[in-house]
Subunit: 209 residues, 4 copies
DNA sequence: CATGAATGAGTGTTCATTCAT
DNA sequence: CATGAATGAACACTCATTCAT
């Protein structure tokens, strides 16, 4: 059992180091941008020798990936909670949109950097359908639930999920670019309004429908 | 008149070279990504000496910018034509969505790279409201027209424009990532359907409205 | 005889071009310094094609050398005149010191650049004992004359000439560096005073002597 | 105490490397001149990788400056000692002239290169009145002392100092250029003779002579 | 395990020189 | 002769990665 204990403390120490380095990398990312993310700087900020980083991360890419995962974790958790709740789809949708809006407005600048690494993108979206793919999956589930509840029309839920996320991301992105920051509540309402009721006028809709 | 002729052929040769280098850069971009875009590679692919590139582009950034402009130009033109037509907003919207859909599906992979260059982003979005900002402006104008025609509800047109573009981009992005390629017609219909009618069911809408 | 005429006009044209290019190089030198002296810039300022420079100067070094010769020529001439005059050595010395002082204060900044090229140095001082060596020779001749006239002590004239030139150059150099510009008359007097009478006090001299 | 030991050996190793690189740079300077001083060559001669140089010197300029300081340091020290001594001005002057003469004859070729770097010049003369400015200051102090002792005439000491240094430098320079090497003792005597007694035969001098 | 010195391939950019037109 | 596009070697500097201690 002793070895198990030693092993555990070893593991603990290792994970502490990993986190420390990861945090340092995040700091560097914030201050110097993606192109300014050098192992030297990470080592300096983390207060460890450059070589030590390679004990915990095989290479720079792995470090970047880990940083990304650290950042996105809270959103994953928050999303999970929202989905798990026993609320109507519309409420879940609103909660989800608000959560992502808040999340993106906090971290968008970092995403600019993180999404830059093709390897990270690969990881996030495609390969293991992880993280972002997960976001889609969750919106999809909510849309599906809405359809089943009879409040949403019977549309392809994945595509709808994608549209919502895309719209949401881009709206945030624009706000960051233009510098203006509208209250999140307002943005949430607008997004929901458009997606739920459409931009078409009811009479016209009645006519077309 | 002779100098005019010589001058012309010189200009022609110069523009041929510029295009050649630009094409080479595009090729490198496709194969190696933005981080892999080195002047050496461009020179090699273009089949010219590295130094020669600097006869046509002051520096790397200028080359990148030029490549970007070359790519986006056709879309700008097509957008202009659509906007100028005297058609109802709904038709324009459809044409615009289809155009961008076609355009993005052709170039999305490049945008991943191009949008990554801060200088390019600057150019595109912020500084001179050029290119992408222009796209927003055009969608905005169409939405505005729709509102005036009485077919669209009176929503903030800029935000709606942003949502549509965001949704559109992301849907394409996803298709590229998942590898599946749905017919563009179908995607256009889905986007319009969602944005015009919303995802909510009519009764619910009637109830809310 | 016709070919002779053609030949002459050809030669004339060539020398005109050489001078034009040389002047352009001088201009570039003044504006951009030695490190900024590029063939491109020279061609641009001269208003000729870069390639044309190589018709008149085998390479950059030859051009630089030519520029140097152009600059130093007036001083050579002025020196010649002073030496040729039938005046007492002391008067010649004063005239010479004044001339060089004026000359250096006008061109010192250029010398900083020109003396930088080892090839130029080679040319100027060593190889053909040209130019600068010539200056030494002239000061030497004046000192010699002074000895013969009985107004100067019988010292090794070359070394004395070197000392005077060295002192003269350095005093100017310092003025340029410190930025202060004392009147030339004053500097001339000081130099002559020190070199003619020495810094030692008469009694002390008598004591030492 | 162990860390202190490790630290010390580390520091030692670092200073050994710095010196090695510095020496290599000196070697390159001697063989290829200032324009031929490339980091590649320094690395090759030093037997280290190019990148390693940048562990010890932030950039080329810093390396050059360091080389310069290494070379000039001994002269600074020797000058300090001479000035500090409690000897009559005339003796100090002789010692100083001899010291510089010896020093310059050893390093003049390097100065050709070193003085060429604007940054080095800046450092030496202007900015902190360091090094060369220091030399002037010291000669000035000696002249001043001589005036106070009553052995030198009451002349502007700074200008006299400049003249002596200029003459001294130029005489050495000439010897290097012409290749002839006169005994230093002789040169010292000639310089002092000229500067103390002047070249003119005055009545007083005539009386002594 | 921790270290940080050492590495060396790679980066964008410059510029004297050549040569086909 | 005049041209200027093309060249390519050279430059200072960076940085992910390795490895002896």
């Amino acid at each position: 059992m002793t070895p198990s204990l030693t092993e555990k403390s070893r593991e603990l120490a290792a994970s502490v180091m990993k986190d420390g380095i990861s945090q340092a990398a995040l700091e560097v990312l914030k201050q110097h941008g993606y192109e300014g993310l050098t192992m030297d700087r990470v080592a300096e900020v983390a207060g460890v020798a450059k070589g030590s980083i390679y004990h915990y991360f095989r290479n720079k890419q792995e470090l970047v990936t880990h940083v990304f995962e650290q950042i996105i974790e809270p959103a994953i958790q928050a999303g999970e909670e929202i989905v798990q709740k026993a609320s109507p789809a519309l409420q879940k949708l609103e909660a989800m949109v608000r959560m992502w809006l808040e999340y993106f407005s906090q971290h968008r600048s970092l995403f600019d950097f993180l999404f830059r690494d093709p390897a990270v993108r690969e990881l996030c979206f495609t390969s293991q359908r992880a993280k972002h793919g997960l976001a889609i999956e969750r919106f999809r589930a909510i849309v599906q639930q809405g359809i089943e509840e009879g409040v949403f029309r019977s549309l392809e839920p994945v595509v709808v999920a994608e549209m919502i996320i895309g719209a949401l991301q881009f709206v945030i992105e624009r706000q960051l670019e233009t510098g203006e920051s509208r209250p999140i509540d307002e943005t949430v309402q607008r997004l929901l309004d458009v997606f739920v009721h459409g931009i078409g006028r009811s009479e016209a809709q009645a006519a077309t429908g």
